[in-house]
Symmetry: C2
Subunit: 255 residues, 2 copies
């Protein structure tokens, strides 16, 4: 099977011109087929502030009322996505910006209200891997904004990590998929105070040991569980690394 | 050749929920291949106001400084475009929102500074009709936002009428193209005070007569000249009509 690299980057790196340019230059150098999934939360919060709209967060998650939804659509699908697309075109990468609504690529269900009403937030239901794979085989590089739709005419704010994971699973039927999650740390650390303590490889057995010994805890547990879900679904490998290392050379690889 | 209808609608109709829904229902009923080109200027002006950014207009044209460019990208490529795409997906139209940067579909030159510096405004240089035609033949319905790019990493604010005209010309190599411009009047009027005075057909000879007798004047002259340019370039017919008549049944047809 042909190789495909899916890279997920957070908001911060795409929202500052210098780090964005570096990221896109690195991205351009990745060989073979590729997909970029981006965030943009900081810019959304900034625009909301300027408009005097309060950003409500519960457990680190944005509550997306109608006004906030419009802001996320403007920032993610507009400002951030098109800046990336235009800059990639400049360096001859045939980028195509997409939300889940475009070509019905990613359908979501609006998150059910339990204790918390998250508002216009989508839980991914289906990724059309076939349609995405056809675009990719044509040499197109999809740039996915963290937005999906519900099929009832509504855009939905959707977690970028989830989009990257679900896209990787759906595309694993068509490509040998490598998924790279960029975040603020170098990888999964054996000792968070030691820069050189990155654990380079984790398989399921090692993961269980790391959890048992509390080396891996808190927010890292669902991150790794999500990575193993991808592996189970046929993704070749998942790497967790820094945004300055989008090739995943120095991060933690889950397989 | 297969038929293709390109419809250009202005900002007002897409910016009010009721008229937008009616427009999209009408659009869904158009048979054969289709493309929608939309504006969004009113929403951009509204957002600029809320952000305390002055909208500068010269001769009815927006001056697009860096801040204003970001606003047009957020509103045109984000808010307006994705609302249309999500609502078309709801009624089973396989919409794909595009700016000129996406897949390098429309390349522009930044408008040269003469008396007036329009800022980040693009004059269309090239439309990739081949790539667009491939998407269209796959059953995809492109929804074009009035934005292009310069190939140097910049998005450019671009007149929606121009985009519709240039896309029609480029696609005339691949389809029998009908181009429909929707505006505030019923069509070209013999007597602007009489609602039932729409001139139903205009060919080049009639156009010259109408200009000579001053029935057609002012802003209508470049509009019609633009329409004849399309005809010369191989577009089958151009209709100028009201937004409530996107099938172009009661408007003025130029051929």
């Amino acid at each position: 099977m042909e190789k495909l690299t899916i890279i997920k980057v957070g908001g911060k790196i795409v929202e500052e011109d210098a780090s964005l340019q570096q990221l896109l230059n690195d991205f351009a150098q990745i060989e073979g087929h590729k997909v970029l999934v981006h965030g943009g939360g900081r810019s959304a919060t900034k625009l909301a502030e300027k408009l005097g709209i309060e950003t409500k967060m519960v457990n680190g998650r944005r509550i997306t009322d109608k006004e906030t939804l419009d802001i996320t659509v403007m920032v993610y699908a507009g400002l951030v996505n098109k800046k990336i697309v235009a800059k990639l075109q400049e360096i001859e990468i045939n980028a195509l910006g997409l939300t889940g609504a475009d070509m019905n690529i990613i359908r979501s269900d609006i998150r059910p209200v339990k204790e918390i009403n998250y508002g216009f937030v989508g839980d991914v239901k289906q990724v059309d891997g076939k349609k995405l794979s056809l675009l990719i085989r044509e040499g197109i590089v999809p740039i996915l904004a963290p937005l999906t739709h519900d099929g009832n005419g509504n855009m939905l704010n959707t977690n970028a990590d989830t989009i990257a994971g679900e896209a990787a699973k759906a595309l694993a039927l068509y490509f040998e998929v490598k998924l790279i999650y960029c975040f603020e740390m170098k990888g999964v650390m054996a000792d968070i105070t030691k820069e050189d303590s990155v654990i380079r490889d984790i398989d399921r057995q090692k993961f269980e040991e790391l959890v048992k010994t509390a080396v891996v805890k808190d927010g890292m547990i669902p991150k790794l569980e999500n990575a193993f879900d991808c592996i189970t679904a046929g993704v070749k490998e998942v790497t967790i690394t820094q945004s300055t290392d989008i090739k995943g050379i120095n991060g933690t690889t889950i397989h």
